[in-house]
Symmetry: C2
Subunit: 378 residues, 2 copies
């Protein structure tokens, strides 16, 4: 029963702790939850409120309460534990917070093990329509390639990231600063419920808790730690998204930034990250995949749909193919411009794609062959 | 009279050669112009057209023809020779072109020695209004700081660079692909004449010659070589401005790129340069100055107007001061946003600037004190 006791101890700690309590997290990492709990309870002087919360916590009741709401408690002992979170054990602190969470409350059918190839898409809550559109596109490309998109369900870029992934038929996970049984912001109830039904909503915070500044900051470290890389799409100079970026950097994750007009305040924080060498400039989801995927590894780490005829194409071929319209024809120049490929090269690739039966040239230019669909690999 | 003979030999070579003829340039660097000329004339087989052109060249007549048009011929023997051009002697080639020019035809009162602190602003001919505005702003900041702006007088970004520098009351130099006695493009006659009257128009091409592809490419190497750094503002994937960028890179000049929307084809070439690590991302003229100026050296290398009360301010103070409007008041938050400085810090700086009598706070917010003017140092 020791494993079960360790688990119940973690439930009690999870209920009692503020997310990101690095001191206790470190103790748990060294001593285990049972001994950490014992030591906490033995010392009634230093942190009386924490001790009260531990006493108040009834792990069996908490677990059954969670279960009734379709929420499970995931710890390092579980098969689905996302082992990339263990990188948080190395002592990094951002604004005093850090550490491996004692457990995560998860609502939804997706197992956290499926997040090994995930990418975080984060940014400004007051995004411009430019940022919103780019975040949607980037997330869609990631999701199509089998990389789940992680974000925080906030207004602006977070929302665009989730919606882009969903629209592309891919996976997305929301990490919340409130309890996994709550939604925040309330305006995103429908989005969060949809993610919980299809994929997963995750929180380190106790059930029923409301979001606080500390919980937002601690949540940001999970977004960075769960993903292979973080894409920053619009962030003003003091944007909260820069906190996630800082965590990505601390954890040696790939940090990427999408540039924008230098006249746009919501791109200033991103440009600053790129200028300081913290973030790599990316302009598309494909470029994100190039940076996070160790030679296409991301394409294999996650279960995918059946292979398509055009898997194994070069990036340039994929770019061109993705730039060919479905409904109306387009000239090779226009396609090349969208693909970012020279006209002559575009024409060469188009002929090759036509040979493979994927595109055809009509009176109004090139279009996709009906049923050939978009590239499965992107 | 040997120095004079060397000079006349260079005039003959300049008339006969295509700009960027690296082979002859290398010979001149090793043997001098007189011996190079002798050897060229002795070999009537290999380059008969070049020999014809040399025979045709009457240096005295060319020099007096130039003089009548206010054009002088500048060689390495002249005090005003921009010694940074000697970096072209190190054998770099781009598209087969290279070498130190045998001489430059210069029209205008500015001496080329004043270009030691110059910065090139180049980019797409089909610039967007965004690119045009940013290039204008960047050039204005550079010019105000005493860094002459070098460009090619083309449509789009080149034009914006020249105009921004002129509007700020600073110096600017146009390097042309046609003869210094001609203008190209014709639509920019007024601009080019204005630059020639106030500053300098420079060309390596023979008097009277029209621009050709080779002359454009060779001209680009001069723009890169004359300046401390090249700022790329909008360039599509195959933009000619990337040729200048390539030269800047080859010559170990600072190469900088201004980002833009990833959805804008005219920013793709810039983003690609930043992604590949060739160019540093910059978002303002101040950031350009930080990169090209060895600790404010650019502020001393060029003769400047009288010192102002606010010289010696920190970059942050200059940023805030430059963000304070002249005509109407603005809140500290708005000023901070434009300056890229946090609100609290902005307020602290504004109070200090108010103490120095440079800004004042009225009912409608902060504004510049009349007559305090903009920062001389930026």
């Amino acid at each position: 029963m020791s494993a079960e006791q360790e688990r119940l101890a973690r439930v009690r700690l999870s209920h009692a702790l503020e997310p990101g309590d690095a001191k206790v997290a470190d103790a748990v990492a060294t001593l285990g939850a049972i001994r950490t709990l014992d030591e906490l309870l033995a010392d009634t002087e230093s942190r009386p409120q924490l001790v009260d919360r531990v006493h108040e916590a009834d792990p069996d009741r908490l677990l059954s309460m969670a279960e009734r709401q379709g929420i499970r408690f995931v710890t390092p002992a579980d098969a689905e534990w996302p082992t990339q979170l263990d990188d948080l054990a190395h002592g990094q602190r951002v604004q005093g917070l850090g550490g491996v969470p004692v457990g995560l409350w998860v609502r939804g059918p997706m197992t956290l093990g499926e997040l090994s190839a995930s990418v975080a898409v984060v940014g400004s809550r007051s995004a411009t329509s430019y940022g919103f559109d780019v975040a949607t596109d980037v997330a869609a490309t990631l999701a199509r390639a089998g990389a789940p998109v992680i974000s925080g369900a906030a207004f602006g870029i977070d929302q665009a990231g989730h919606r882009g992934a969903l629209a592309a038929g891919g996976g997305t996970v929301a990490v919340l600063a409130c309890g996994a049984d709550r939604v925040y912001p309330a305006a995103h109830r429908e989005l969060i419920e949809h993610i919980a039904q299809r994929f997963a909503v995750v929180s380190e915070a106790p059930l029923g808790s409301s979001p606080t500044k500390v919980r937002f900051l601690s949540r940001n470290r999970l977004i960075a730690a769960l993903s292979r890389g973080t894409v920053l799409v619009e962030a003003a100079i003091r944007s909260g998204a820069l906190n996630t970026a800082h965590w990505a950097d601390q954890l040696s994750r790939v940090l990427m930034g999408v540039p924008g007009p230098v006249t746009s305040p919501t791109s200033q924080g991103v440009h600053e990250q790129i200028r300081r060498g913290g973030a790599s400039l990316v302009t598309s989801g494909l470029e994100v995949l190039e940076l996070v995927g160790a030679s296409g590894e991301h394409l294999m780490a996650v279960p995918r749909g059946p292979e398509r005829a055009h898997d194994g194409f070069s990036l340039q071929e994929i770019r061109v193919l993705d730039a060919v319209p479905v409904s109306r024809g387009a000239g090779s120049e226009s396609i090349g411009r969208i693909a970012g490929v020279g006209v002559q090269e575009t024409e060469r690739v188009l002929l090759a794609l036509a040979g493979a039966g994927l595109v055809l040239e009509g009176a109004d230019g090139w279009r996709l062959v009906a049923g050939a669909g978009r590239t499965g690999g992107t």
